[in-house]
């Protein structure tokens, strides 16, 4: 699967819910203080954002908090949003920064063992309330496998596969060399292939 087709699919994923012109009008209306318009932006983007944040965290409760917080921050900054860009990447950046800050805070508060118990554990395959958002057993298996990835592999995998980021963008976001992105992604894929081989 090449880069272009991936981007096309990403565009399709966005456009199946709302086209660019409609999104711009919603943002314009939200900038004018239209709460209903921002409500629509929430509904259009929250699912994808939730998947992204959950992919990074593996914790349902933390994801709920961060997604909500991301929308609150986005609303407070909506006036400054430049309409020549699309909404989701901007929103995802807000959420990602919140997520990383949250993780750092939590890591300072808790020891690694405690983190593992509280849902940050990359080795824990329990999905908890997240299961209500899944369709079937195979999907549950998929997310269990993703959640079981060590965090350094998982975040690269999520940025690449859920957020369609390029190697360069991932390197920039995670502040790691592009070669490391390559190797971590390779490793993440190997682990997933191993755990999901019966579904392939």
């Amino acid at each position: 699967m090449d880069e272009t087709s991936r981007e096309e699919r990403a565009a399709l994923a966005v456009n199946k819910s709302v086209d660019g012109a409609t999104e711009r009008k919603l943002i314009e209306a939200a900038q004018d203080g239209d709460q209903h318009a921002f409500g629509q932006l929430i509904r259009l983007n929250q699912k994808r954002l939730f998947r992204f944040v959950y992919g990074l965290f593996g914790s349902f409760d933390a994801t709920e908090d961060i997604v909500q917080e991301a929308f609150v921050k986005a609303y407070s900054a909506i006036d400054r949003f430049d309409l020549q860009f699309t909404f989701y990447p901007w929103l995802a950046t807000i959420a990602r920064n919140l997520a990383f800050n949250y993780r750092e805070r939590e890591q300072r508060k808790e020891s690694l063992d405690q983190l593992q118990e509280s849902g940050f554990d990359p080795q824990t395959a329990q999905l908890g309330p997240f299961e209500q958002l899944l369709n079937d057993e195979a999907q549950k298996r998929f997310y269990q496998a993703v959640k079981a990835l060590p965090i350094k592999y998982r975040e690269v995998f999520v940025l690449r596969h859920f957020e369609d980021q390029s190697y360069t963008e991932i390197a920039s976001i995670l502040k790691i060399p592009p070669g490391t992105v390559d190797s971590r992604l390779y490793r993440a894929r190997q682990l997933l292939l191993e755990s999901l081989k019966d579904l392939l």
Partner: protein
């Protein structure tokens, strides 16, 4: 370079993220290495699995989550209306305007069995009931106001359930407001007879008798006049001026815009069913004919038909140029604007005055304006809002459109009044129209 070197690069090769030189080298290796080809195949399968399984399911959870976020943002429960502004690409707009069509639902309310019989006789001569509706041919039914029950405005809008749409033009009745829908000619029989009629949709009715159950007698007529009939029909009300309103909307939905007119049935050539002139229904109680024009989406028309026992015998889709001209609405707007501004100034002045003399004894405080003048102001404001809506609908001038929408938005954001509901309704109609 050994196999391991290339194997480590397969993932990046799969993503086309290697340099051109590396891409070429890996490609050459893969062509010769079955194991690497197998590995690439597995990576492609993994991609497909991710595509299939990564999307989270639709669930009630998302709406609940959105509402929680809105709550946290302090959003009001009742959302404001979002206006999706129309595209100003000229052709698209013209096409949209041309596509706007009139939903005219015309029905004949048949009174007694003898009317049915006489209609039957005429229908045998010409069984097709499919004359085109010409709304302007109809004249206003101005019944004696004593014959009609006057409905208070508040009674029309019980607790957000329904939206009144009382903005019919008195001097040019039968007007059709542009909207989406169809022109329909229909038969409405009185309650008790129309059970079969209700299921009739498009096919012309060969005979009214055929629509009755064999051997059954028509139920006693529950009404004697058109007005009584209308009073009993759910959602139909009349005001003191004899204008008829049909309410079909619920909160959040687009309500019906109804102009009503009566009579001139002989002029409409209803397939030979030469119903005698009923220009004055108070006198012609035996021959009851009603033409009601309903504008709205197909959905609204369908709801109206069901709730009002309307059996459609002919259906056609027509575009119309029957709307009043933009100039007319500009004139209405311009004529009302100074009065409304004066009223606003007076109102502000009165508020200031009453605040200034708030400590005076009650007897000295300024008396409220008489109810009649308040009612006039209300009517003027309603007409003003309608003019703004029509201008927004028709104008090609973007700034004029913006001004008109700004007025509607201003009233839509007011405190909960009938004007707010009316303005919100117009905005919703505009939004739907642009969609």
């Amino acid at each position: 370079m050994d196999h391991g070197y290339f194997q480590d690069r397969l993932s990046a090769y799969h993503d086309r993220s290697l340099t051109p030189e590396e891409m070429r080298m890996v490609e050459e290796h893969v062509a010769a290495c079955a194991e690497c080809r197998k590995q690439l195949e597995m990576l492609a399968k993994l991609d497909r699995l991710i595509d299939e399984k990564a999307d989270l399911t639709e669930s009630d959870y998302w709406e609940t989550a959105a509402q929680k976020t809105e709550q946290r943002l302090g959003f009001k429960k009742e959302s404001k209306i979002t206006i999706i502004r129309r595209s100003w690409t000229g052709l698209g707009w013209k096409l949209a305007a041309a596509a706007a069509s009139v939903a005219a639902l015309t029905f004949i309310a048949l009174h007694e069995g003898d009317i049915l019989d006489s209609a039957d006789q005429r229908m045998q001569d010409s069984p097709t009931v499919s004359a085109p509706v010409v709304p302007d041919m109809a004249v206003t039914h101005r019944a004696d106001s004593s014959d009609r029950r006057v409905h208070e405005q508040d009674a029309l809008m019980p607790e957000d359930k329904e939206v009144r749409t009382d903005f019919a033009e008195p001097e040019k009745p039968g007007r059709v407001v542009a909207g989406k829908g169809v022109v329909k000619e229909a038969l409405v029989s009185k309650k008790g007879i129309a059970a079969e009629d209700k299921r009739e949709k498009v096919e012309p009715s060969p005979s009214l008798d055929a629509e009755r159950e064999p051997g059954s007698e028509p139920a006693p007529a529950p009404v004697e006049t058109v007005d009584e009939l209308l009073e009993q029909v759910e959602g139909v009300v009349t005001n003191a001026s004899g204008e008829i309103f049909v309410r079909g909307g619920r909160a959040g939905e687009v309500a019906d815009i109804v102009d009503s007119s009566h009579g001139r049935m002989e002029g409409q050539s209803r397939a030979g069913a030469a119903i005698p002139s009923a220009t004055d229904a108070t006198e012609e109680k035996r021959d009851i004919g009603k033409t009601i024009t309903v504008t709205g989406s197909r959905d609204i028309i369908e709801r109206f038909k069901v709730s009002n026992q309307v059996a459609v015998t002919h259906e056609s889709l027509e575009t119309t140029d029957d709307t009043r001209s933009l100039d007319h609405w500009r004139m209405v707007r311009d004529s009302l604007q100074p009065q409304i501004r004066t009223q606003l100034r007076k109102k502000q002045h009165a508020v200031e005055k009453s605040t200034r003399y708030a400590d005076r004894p009650p007897g000295i405080s300024p008396s409220p304006p008489p109810p009649d003048s308040a009612s006039d102001r209300q009517t003027q404001l309603q007409r003003y809002l309608e003019a703004c809506y029509q201008i927004a609908l028709q104008t090609e001038d973007e700034s004029e459109y913006d001004d008109a929408v700004a007025v509607l938005t201003k009233y839509a954001e007011r405190e909960d009044t009938s004007l707010q509901k009316l303005a919100r309704r117009y905005l919703k109609l505009l939004e739907d129209f642009h969609k």
